[in-house]
Each structure stands twice: as C-alpha cells, then as structure tokens.
Amino acid sequence: MIAAGKYLRIALGVAVVLALILVPTTFNRYGLYILSQWAVMSIAAMGLNLTLGYAGQVSLAQGAFVGIGAYAGAILTTQGFPLIAAIAVAIVLCFAIGWLLGYPALRVQHHYLAFVTLAFSTLAFLVFRNESWLTGGIYGISNIPRPHILGMATSKPLPFYYVCLGSLAIVTAAVWWLIRSPWGRAFMALRENPVRALSLGVDTRRYTLMAFAVGSALGGVAGALYAPLTQYIDPVPFNLSLSLDLLMMVIVGGSGFFFGPFLGAMIAVLLPEWLRFTQGYYLMLYAIAVILLLIWSPSGILGILDRYLTQRRTRAASALRAVAKPKLEVAQ
C-alpha cells in the first residue's frame, strides 16, 4: 500500500510538471503573464515558508526583499549585465540584509518580531521611492530587458514563462534538499522548542540568522525575475501589502508544508483572476473564500490533506491491531 502511494505521488508529480510545460502553450499573452507571476511568487513564498513555516520566525518583510531583488535585477540588466549575474547579486544582497534583519529575532519573537520586520518593510519602501538617483524614484525603471538563454531570446511571453518555471524548478530542488539536510531539522527544532534545541548543542542564534538570510535570499531571486517579467518597476508593488500577500500565501497554502507556497501563490495570484467574471465583486468573494478556508482549516489547504491522511493511517493501524489481537489470543 505504501509502495502504491509512492507511485501515485510520483505519477501525480510528473502529470503536474507536464501540464505546467504543455498546457500554457495554448495560453494567450495575459494568461502566460499571470502564470509566470505565479511561478515568481511561489519562489518568494517558499523563502518565507522556510523562515516562518519551518524555522518559526514571523516576517512581514518578504515583500521588501522581493523589491530589493527586483531593483538589483532592473539596475544591473539595464546596465547590460546578464540576468544570471543580477540574480547572483540579488541573492548575496538579500542574504546579507536578511542576516542583519535576523538579529532582532534573537531578542523578540512572534508579533513583536512582526512589528520589527514591518518597520523594515516600510524603510525599504521609502528607499525605493526617495533614493531616485539609484531607483528612479516614483518614475521607476523601464525597458528592463529579458535575457538570452543559450543564444535564444526570451522576450516573448512563452519563452520567458519557461525561464520563470525553470527557476522555480531549481529553487524547489534546492529547498527540498535544504529541508532534508541537518539544517532543515535544526530549523524545525527552532520552531518547536528553542530551549531544548539549545541544550542539545544547536546554535540557535546562528540558525535563526541563517533562516532569515536564506528565506530573504529566495525573496531576492523572485524579485530579480519579477523585474524582467513586468519589464517596468516602480516602488508601488513592493509596499507592505506584498509582504502581507506573501504571508497569506504561506498560511493559506499550509505553513510548514513543502508544497504549501505553490498552492498559496496559486490562490493569491490565480483565484482573483478566475473570479473576474463576477465583475466588481471578485475581490470581496476572494476575501470571503480566504476567511472561510482559514476558519475551516487554520493550518491551510495542506493542513486539510494532512488531517485526512493522518486519520486514514490511524484507522489502518487500528484495523491492523484488531486483526492482530485475536491471533495473539490464539497463540497463547
């Protein structure tokens, strides 16, 4: 039964990946734009899921890191640097700033930490808007080029969608590997019981900073892809509401579940589009759907699945025990 479940999961994974590659070939320009945005936001949400879902550190600053990555990407690629170099710079920059932002987390936790990161978010927004020598201020940066990959131009929507999807695949593999490494275990220990972790030799300080740094760096990757996706950036998309959106994606998808951010980003990016036929009501319906979901399952969509699977396993175990018991009695 376990083997069958494994094959089923692999088959499902292959089907989803094939669908993500093949189905969009029929999409129009706008559909591809939305789906590319889903891929980019999934990367940013995965970073936040690492910081919040796995390591338990609340952050309301992930949107600011997407902004830092986007500006790094926009400035460098308009200066003629390749996108891959821009992504590398975004990673290093966001990793370093994220590490520094982790320091308050060593002193304050939960909603106090949320406020500290919220202040950082506001600060980053003010820098984007006011330091116009660097960021172009409220006029932003336009004509952001899309890259050539292996000599092929990706300026059309479909090729650039594949750039976003490919990046998502690489980040997914890297995060999958990270959370299965001893670091992932240490992050979870930080979330579940920092005092006990410390007494077992876990350097909770360094892991807390690392959780912030790695999560923020992924925000930077998302930003560096966001810039060539929209080809024009200004400060508005990177205000606090993006951080709140990303937080919502993580929580709605299922905080601390590996695939939570994909589902969360899908709901945050795609659901409003699907609901557009309701005209003026679509944002209201979207808000109500999110409220109802979280009342039903505070642990998000994957929380529902998790509960169902746990129940089924428990039932299976009780059934096995029920069968085993008479056998034991006979044996005696």
Partner: protein, 247 residues
C-alpha cells in the same frame, strides 16, 4: 577518582531572593549523584546555573578541570554535558528517529559541513541503536508528539545520551512515569552508566528511585547544601529527616 564536575560557591539571586546560596560539590567520574530537597529549594536553578541556562551571580563551574562558567548551553553540550528538563521537552512534529538524530547532529563538524554532508548527519545507526536500547523500535517513525507520556520521557532521556556525553543532568526523570516504565527507565540509566561510563546527576522526588539508583545523594534546603553522603547515611541524617524526608 577524578571529578568530572566541580561546582564552587555558586550563588544565584533573583532580586532580593537568594535561590542558590554558596553551593559547592564535586561529581566523580562514573558516579550517579542524586539531588533531593523540597520544592523551591533551588535544585533546578542550580542545574540551570551549571548548564548555562542562567548565569550564576557568583561562583565557578568546572568540567574536567576547565572553567566553563557562563558558557552557552549549546557550547556546554558540545563539551559533553547534556540534560533533560523537568517538563517534557521533545520535538512533537519530528519523528522519534529525527528527534534522536537532531540530538546528536551538532556534535561533529562545522555548520557548513553539515549542510553538505549526509541528510542523517551519519547518525542513522547511532539513532537506531539508541531506539533499540530504549525499546522504542515500534515507534521509530512516529511523530514524537503522538507517544504516551512515559514513552516521551524515555525518548527525552535517550536524546540526552546521543553523542556520548560525559555528564548527564536529569531533572525529575521519574515524574509522572508509571511503575513498569519507571523500572525500565532505571534499568536503562544503570546500563548507560555501566556500559558507556556516563556520569549522572539526578534530581528526583521518588525516594525509592533515588536511593536505589544513586551512589551518593546531596540534599538541598533553602538554597544551601544540607547534607551529602551515601544513601544510608542520608536516610539516617536527623537534619535531612527533619527538613525533607519526614518521620
């Protein structure tokens, strides 16, 4: 026999209250030292001062002759000193095996080395041995939060033994554990002591458990050491009977 742990003149004050008042004692290599005394007499505070959870107001802690006063708990743990807590402290959403691997993974190599090393940090075998030793085989892949209280206590103790510590401080290991499980736990502790040469300090209220397990017993009252000696001496000590054991 040499001393693994030397505590000299440890004092800890909280505002006007002196919780631990000039406590000095040695723990000898390979012994099991019991620490008893009424609630609030400073036993757990003393543990926390030794292990770096609290910084002592005065005094010195030495491990193997080396001054470790004020080191962080994670540093002390890597020097081979581990502990359990009075209240249960396992990681509920990690499996039993993952709990044990976590308990051992930070003892070797660098943080970066661990990232690029094997995902079990090379500890699967050690974890499986510990699971076998504490008879948790059938629960190895279960989330620790789903275990019964007594089983979690066993796991909690097993975690303290990962990485082969020199000295283990156990804070009320028997609290809330049923008699069968308690016999098991005692049995495991004695085996750990004899086979692996681990030295213990055990805080416990269960007198029968303490007196049968420990080679020496220290009694605390109102932050001070009241008596220190063999179990039979402690039982016969009038001051101890007066302050704690009762008639």
């Amino acid at each position: 026999m040499s001393a693994v742990l030397e505590v000299s003149d440890i004092k800890k004050t909280f505002g006007g209250i002196t919780a631990v008042d000039d406590v000095s004692f040695d723990v000898r290599e390979g012994e099991i030292l019991g620490l008893i005394g009424p609630n609030g007499c400073g036993k757990s505070t003393l543990f926390n001062c030794i292990l770096g959870q609290l910084t002592p107001s005065a005094g010195e802690v030495k491990i193997d002759g080396r001054d470790v006063t004020g080191l962080r708990p994670s540093d002390l743990n890597r020097l081979g000193v581990s502990r359990t807590f009075q209240l249960l402290q396992v990681f509920p959403r990690l499996s039993v095996r993952e709990n044990l691997i976590l308990a051992g993974q930070e003892h070797q190599g660098s943080m970066l080395g661990r990232l690029f090393g094997p995902s079990d940090a090379g500890l699967s075998r050690a974890a499986n041995e510990m699971i076998g030793f504490f008879k948790l085989d059938h629960l190895a892949t279960e989330p620790a939060g789903g275990l019964s209280y007594g089983q979690q206590k066993l796991l909690d103790a097993a975690m303290a033994f990962m990485g082969g510590p020199r000295l283990v401080l156990l804070d009320e290991p028997a609290g809330g554990v049923n008699p069968t499980m308690l016999a098991d736990l005692k049995d495991r502790l004695i085996a750990m002591n004899r086979e692996k040469g681990a030295t213990f300090v055990v805080i416990e209220h269960n007198m029968e458990f303490v007196m049968s397990l420990c080679s020496r017993v220290m009694v605390m009252a109102e932050g001070k050491v009241l008596a220190l000696g063999r179990p039979d001496e402690i039982r016969a000590n009038p001051a101890v009977v007066e302050a704690y054991l009762g008639h």
